[in-house]
């Protein structure tokens, strides 16, 4: 198991490094169209071939990996902050506030995740600039993905509210603000960190689903979701394994995250 974890970590680091070095490693820009070579199989010039518009698939995969791997953690950070804020305050204040916040959280959780996501995504303009679509897609994931984490944070904060050290701090006259920021927040850090890491693979998969449904990152900017749209073409599955590289990368990254997270959970348990 230790070897699998080490392999997962090395794989993850290698993929992140390759995507960060896309500017140097990619043979062409992600949007450059080689019109003389559309749908080309792997050649020396195009190691993973080209897509229907003649764009180099390796370059698009590298840039797409960068978009997905940088923005999924950003969305996870946003959702964790929201979860910490809503769940933390609800747990700390308790009583009616906690009930109200948790009722709102239940409302969010009663809707299937993908359903909620496409509904809210559709409320925002669909024909936007590619850079805006990236922000909209990942921003949405961050804004909507807080509910499950908030429940966990609320439970953690509520149990801490009644603990001895908080009672002692209160009895010593520590202000509410100091109690929350100095005494409770550092103790909630492990819960928040766990929720952050758990959110990343969920958001990567959600972005991929949105991309395939045409509600994700807009062309020509690549992301794993928009790259996987190519799979809609039936010939892709039979046409050559190189077309499936983005899918393999996505599965490898999500699996590495799952392996590392499960180990972290085992250790903390």
């Amino acid at each position: 198991m230790k070897r699998i974890r080490q392999f997962s970590f090395v794989l993850l680091v290698a993929i992140v490094m390759a995507s960060l070095g896309a500017d140097f490693l990619a043979p062409a820009d992600y949007a450059t169209q080689f019109r003389e070579a559309p749908n080309s199989p792997p050649t020396r010039a195009h190691l993973l071939g080209t897509d229907a518009l003649g764009r180099d698939r390796l370059s698009r995969t590298l840039y797409g990996t960068r978009v997905s791997l940088l923005l999924a953690p950003a969305a996870a950070l946003l959702s964790t902050l929201l979860a910490g804020l809503i769940g933390g305050f609800a747990g700390y204040l308790g009583g009616a506030w906690q009930k109200l916040a948790m009722a709102f959280t239940d409302l969010f959780l009663s809707l299937p995740w993908l359903f909620l996501l496409i509904t809210v995504r559709a409320l925002l303009p669909l024909n936007v600039a590619p850079s805006t679509s990236v922000m909209v897609t990942f921003g949405l994931l961050g804004v909507l993905g807080w509910a499950a984490a908030a429940r966990v944070v609320c439970a953690g904060a509520a149990s801490m509210r009644d603990s001895d050290f908080v009672l002692l701090a209160r009895a010593s006259g520590v202000s509410r603000r100091r109690l929350l920021l100095v005494h409770m927040l550092p103790n909630l850090k492990p819960v928040l960190l766990a929720q952050f890491w758990l959110s990343i693979p969920v958001f990567i998969l959600s972005e991929a689903n949105l991309g395939i449904l045409g509600l994700g990152v807009a062309e020509p900017l690549p992301s794993w979701g928009s790259l996987l749209r190519e799979l809609e073409d039936f010939a892709t599955f039979s046409g050559g394994m190189w077309k499936l590289v983005p899918l393999f990368l996505l599965v490898a990254v999500v699996m590495s995250f799952q392996t590392l997270i499960s180990h972290k959970n085992e250790v903390s348990a």
Binding site: P201, I212, E232
Partner: protein, 288 residues
């Protein structure tokens, strides 16, 4: 279980569904481009027709008014008219709900069957191979987007409910396996096994009752998982169900359809969760 408890469950469900629909209506109303209609740009339309379209849209401007009139009409069986499909929403929902229900029910049942068979086999046989096969299948399936699974099944001409089953299976399997593993470490189960009670009897008489409640609760969650997966599955497999309708409504920004679908899906999810809660509570041993 007392009638008052069931009544409380139903009241909570109703309030949550109404609040969910109001939230959806508010978000849709505040969405950019709410007042715009592509039809208004049609050069063939006369000035009067464009004005009529504008007036029709402006009726929906006030969120509360829009929502209250929607609720009033819904109570009288009128769920509005789809702007993109030009058909009554009630007709569309009635037509497509059974399709999704069949797909989700079969998918969830198959997913549960696979998960239970593998998790229980791993627990009963205590064979590393069975454990590995289950963990590997669940691990890989957890990492594949449901839309990719749907596409693969379209290409391989496999039934669509299999995609739902493959989405539900890994989550149910992982949780069930973890529950069983923890149960086998409980002192009374270690004692039972040490006394030489058969593995099947240990599983059915001692392990299952400990985890029954959590497994029943999982039943409600799996309906939500299945409904979520129905969107990419129906959209990509061309199945005319609620998922495909939601996708089309999202792409067309169809307000009445989206609000109704939000309420329908919320109600179905809440009913599933409530049913599992009621079953759970009625199975709990009562204090003398």
């Amino acid at each position: 279980m007392s009638a008052s408890r069931i009544g409380r469950h139903l009241a909570t469900m109703l309030v949550t569904a109404l609040l969910g629909a109001f939230l959806a209506a508010t978000l849709i109303r505040l969405a950019p481009g709410f007042d715009a209609d592509v039809q208004q740009l049609d050069s063939r339309l006369s000035h009067e027709s464009v004005e009529a379209l504008r007036a029709e849209r402006s009726q929906n401007r006030n969120i509360v008014r829009f929502y209250l009139s929607y609720l009033h009409a819904a109570l009288h069986g009128d769920l509005g008219r789809s702007q993109t499909l030009s058909r009554p929403v009630r007709e569309l929902v009635a037509e497509r709900l059974p399709v999704t229900a069949r797909l989700v029910v079969w998918g969830v049942l198959l997913g549960w069957m696979l998960a239970i068979v593998l998790a229980f086999s791993a627990a009963l046989l205590r064979h590393a191979g069975v454990h590995l096969v289950g963990a590997l299948c669940a691990g890989v399936l957890l990492c594949i987007p449901s839309a990719v699974l749907a596409l693969a099944l379209v290409i391989w001409r496999a039934p669509a409910f299999l995609a739902i089953a493959l989405v539900v299976f890994p989550k149910i399997f992982s949780i069930t396996r973890n529950l069983l593993e923890r149960s086998y470490e409980l002192p009374h189960i270690i004692t039972a096994r040490a006394k030489g009670i058969s593995e099947l009897r240990v599983l059915l008489w001692h392990v299952l009752p400990v985890n029954g409640g959590q497994l029943i609760a999982l039943g409600g969650v799996s309906v939500s998982l299945g409904l979520g997966a129905s969107i990419p599955v129906e959209a990509l497999c061309g199945i005319p169900g609620i998922g495909q309708l939601a996708w089309q409504a999202a792409l067309g920004r169809d307000l009445p359809l989206l609000v109704t679908l939000t309420v329908v899906v919320t109600l179905v999810t809440l009913t599933a969760n409530m049913t599992s809660d009621i079953v759970n509570e009625s199975l709990k041993p009562r204090a003398a």
